[in-house]
């Protein structure tokens, strides 16, 4: 597997799972689109070994240095260690910077408004510079995002641009509009994973950032877990081979895209992220790809046609925009509609579609349930989390079921009968909320 040269862009395989048969008059077409990228020589999310990402990757680590990071003081120390671990994980050739995030953003390394290229020398200096990560001040995440964007801009020529934003608190020293402005400017410029350390931060806020920047969000409840998490994020980042890939959805005249959602590995609604891409086509951003597989749920409403007709309800392509305005099609799949009077065909439910519909419902039930709990509506919270337990159990989503069990006592998983636990820890509740969108694939 080891490859010392930058491998070619990965190959994208597109598989479509659907029941294309519609009853007379039916108009809604659902399909699960599995996109699998396979490329030469990268490690994906696995430990690095000798795989080399080459000069195309840039990473900016933004570490929260607000005053609260010294309560407890292990937080700052662990954050510094995690940053060092991240630097050690990145191979030579990667461009990188470390930023201290407070109510402003300060370059810690290299400190000259641009990125440094890792080599044995910069590696040592970078780690020495980490003592400048010191708690003082507030939290204005828009400044962090702006600074990361400017650093990436100052170092052109990289294709994979990825940031990590670590925070321990709410974005309390600016308005949501400030944050939105920064996100709008950064969208498409780089991707970012968000991490909340401790339990004083807000899940919805970080999710908003990670969604906009096409990255992941997670909780690191114990600061001691930061180093391992940072290592894993860096391994994934350097496994990426191609950035700015879009899911292009073509639909016929008078059709309407009802939604486009990433369904695995986590639920992510992309519907509102559409940008028009020529007649009857729109692009939905998917960020950067390494060796990985993702599932998308596409729902299209087409004009009804008579029994016996067959229609292309959607053409799904993975496209890569070129610098000259052209696009390269990396892979393609077709979603069809066939009208039939055979009820056995039209009433059959595609197992993939059913499964991911359930997984999306699972995520929604958890979100609703925890929201109701915060609002003091215990009945609703219990009902919603009960529904979540039932869905997680039925779909074999053991990971989510385990998180649910820390918040509710499960009386009957199959029926979704639960009781709220007394003294649910904030960490367990936030972990459930943060990871509620994680899905599993269809049981084979």
């Amino acid at each position: 597997m080891a490859s010392l040269s930058k491998p070619d862009a990965p190959r994208f395989d597109v598989d479509v799972f659907q029941n294309e048969y519609l009853a007379q008059g039916a108009r809604e077409v659902n399909a699960i689109v599995t996109v699998t990228a396979t490329g030469g020589g990268t490690s994906g999310g696995r430990p690095l070994g000798a795989a080399a990402p080459g000069p195309g990757t840039a990473v900016v680590l933004v570490i929260d240095c607000s005053g609260s990071m010294e309560h407890p003081n292990t937080k700052m120390r662990n954050a510094r260690e995690a940053t060092a671990a991240a630097i050690d994980t990145l191979p030579d050739g990667v461009a990188f910077a470390v930023v201290a995030g407070t109510n402003r953003a300060e370059d810690v390394f290299p400190g000259n408004g641009t990125l440094a290229v890792l080599d044995p020398y910069t590696r040592i200096h970078a780690k020495e510079a980490l003592h400048r990560l010191k708690p003082s001040g507030g939290t204005s995440i828009s400044t962090w995002i702006d600074r990361a964007r400017k650093l990436f801009d100052a170092h052109p020529g990289t294709t994979i641009r990825h940031a990590v934003l670590l925070t321990d608190g709410r974005n309390e020293h600016e308005t949501p509009a400030d944050l939105q402005r920064a996100l709008d400017a950064a969208t498409g410029a780089f991707t970012a994973d968000c991490r909340g350390v401790g339990t004083d931060w807000e899940v919805a806020e970080l999710r908003r950032i990670s969604s906009a920047l096409l990255g992941t969000v997670d909780i690191v409840a114990e600061p001691s877990g930061l180093a391992e998490d940072f290592r894993a994020m860096m391994a994934t980042a350097i496994g990426k081979q191609v950035a700015d890939v879009a899911l292009r959805v073509w639909t016929p005249a008078n059709a309407r895209v009802k939604f486009v959602k990433q369904a695995a590995p986590a639920v992510e609604d992309l519907t509102e992220r559409r940008t028009e891409a020529g007649p009857r086509a729109g692009d939905y951003p998917t960020g950067s790809w390494g060796d990985e597989s993702r599932d998308y749920h596409v729902c299209v409403e087409v004009p009804a046609a008579a029994v016996g007709n067959e229609m292309l309800a959607a053409r799904i392509s993975l496209v890569l925009p070129g610098p000259d305005g052209t696009t390269e099609v990396l892979g393609q799949g077709l979603v069809r509609a066939v009208w039939t009077d055979d009820l056995a065909s039209s009433t059959r439910i595609n197992p993939q579609v059913a499964h991911y519909t359930g997984q999306a419902e699972l995520a929604e039930s958890i979100r609703d349930g925890l929201e109701a709990h915060r609002a003091g509506d215990l009945d609703r919270a219990t009902a919603r989390l009960g529904a979540a337990v039932r869905l997680a159990h039925a779909s074999g989503n053991e990971g989510t079921l385990k998180l649910l069990r820390k918040v509710v006592d499960v009386v009957d998983a199959r029926e979704g009968t639960v009781r709220f636990r007394k003294n649910v820890s904030e960490a367990d509740s936030m972990t459930l909320e943060t990871r509620s969108t994680k899905t599993v694939r269809v049981k084979k």
Partner: protein, 371 residues
């Protein structure tokens, strides 16, 4: 018309002087047909000329495919197949061919198959069966095999070919019919005055004499169907059996999951001129009894088999075209003197006991459906 280097029908290489294709008999000269005229294809649904990969790039509708409507005529047989109105693709297939026996006598072959729609890739199954059976029949007759023997071999070859589809590595589509590819089968050989029929499933053969006043049309096949089985086992009477929702469920087919394949063959010597029809249920569903079907067979069917086949397909489409429709018409003109004519056996099919040890299905007079 530009010089053709291969047959437009079967892609057989052609010489510059060829007026007919040596392989399939397609005429290569004559006035330009629609096929030769430069036409800008446009979408039948919305008229857009923006077409790609078989789809309209505007309204998304599938564009007509080659198998949607097919016609083929060679000396001695013509066939037409059509998607109909209610199915999105044509899962029927047919083959027609001429063959030469070792003594130089001509033989005519027709094969019609209907993909089982509850199986995977039924369209591939029928096309595969037709190709295998046609090739097998031509080769067997050329080699001098008895028609009954040739028929058995052809059904065997077709069954092996369809069975092989189940093991060709095509992944099963989740949430779909995962039954092995399957189809029904009927074929006819007309050679030296003898007609031989072979079938599996509910594709049928009918004998339609020119003179329907003095000779009666007959159904030559007995369906492998639930209803036919119930009637044969005397568990139900015909009316009761055919009124059951399971009536048309077939009990015999070609394919990997066909247990105890039981091909039926029958031979007979027509004594009067007429046509032999072999067809799928897309046709006979609209005129089940031979006498009813005969009503829609053109009087000149024997001299105009292609026109007769087209007319039958049009009839089924006009009746609703609920299924794919395929029919082959084989003109039969017995070269027998009236003196040989045995009144009692007038155009009654005669199972040839010697060659057809398994022609066990009792042939019966087809009764009109009504009254």
């Amino acid at each position: 018309m530009p010089q053709q280097t291969e047959c437009p029908t079967c892609a057989e290489p052609l010489g510059p002087q060829d007026a007919f294709c040596g392989a399939c008999g397609t005429a290569l000269t004559g006035p330009p047909t629609l096929r030769d005229l430069p036409v800008v294809p446009s979408c039948p649904n919305c008229g857009s000329t923006e077409l790609a990969d078989g789809w309209c790039q505007r309204c998304g509708h599938a564009q007509p495919r080659e198998r949607d409507h097919q016609e083929h005529e060679v000396t001695g047989v013509a066939a037409v197949s059509d998607r109909g109105l209610r199915h999105h693709r044509n899962e029927d297939a047919f083959g027609v061919a001429g063959a030469e026996c070792p003594d130089g006598a001509p033989a005519v072959i027709a094969v019609v198959c209907d993909g089982v729609s509850s199986s995977a890739r039924p369209d591939e199954a029928s096309a595969t069966a037709v190709t295998a059976a046609t090739d097998s029949l031509v080769a067997a007759l050329k080699a001098g095999r008895d028609p009954g023997q040739a028929m058995h071999e052809a059904i065997g070859a077709a069954n092996r070919a369809v069975t092989a589809l189940a093991h060709d590595g095509t992944p099963a589509e989740p949430g779909r019919h995962n039954n092995a590819p399957a189809c029904t089968y009927v074929s006819a050989i007309s050679a030296g005055g003898l007609v031989t029929i072979g079938w599996v499933g509910d594709t049928r053969a009918y004998w339609i004499p020119d003179d329907r006043e003095s000779a009666e049309p007959y159904r030559l096949t007995e369906d492998d169907s639930w209803a036919a089985r119930m009637v044969a086992a005397k568990l139900m009477d015909e009316a009761e059996a055919y009124a059951d929702p399971r009536a048309h469920a077939i009990t015999g087919w070609l394919g990997a999951d066909a247990e105890d394949l039981d091909p039926h063959t029958v031979s007979f010597t027509p004594h009067v001129p007429g046509v032999l029809l072999i067809c799928t249920d897309g046709l006979w569903n609209y005129a089940e009894a031979a006498t009813d079907l005969a009503f829609f067979v053109r009087a000149d069917a024997r001299t105009e088999p292609l026109a007769a086949a087209r007319a039958l397909v049009t009839f089924a489409v006009e009746r609703g075209g609920h299924d794919n429709i395929t029919v082959a018409v084989l003109p039969i003109d017995p070269q027998v003197s009236p003196a040989d004519h045995d009144d009692t056996l007038l155009d009654v099919p005669l199972p040839r006991a010697a060659a057809d040890t398994d022609a066990t299905v009792p042939l019966r007079r087809a009764e009109p459906a009504a009254n």
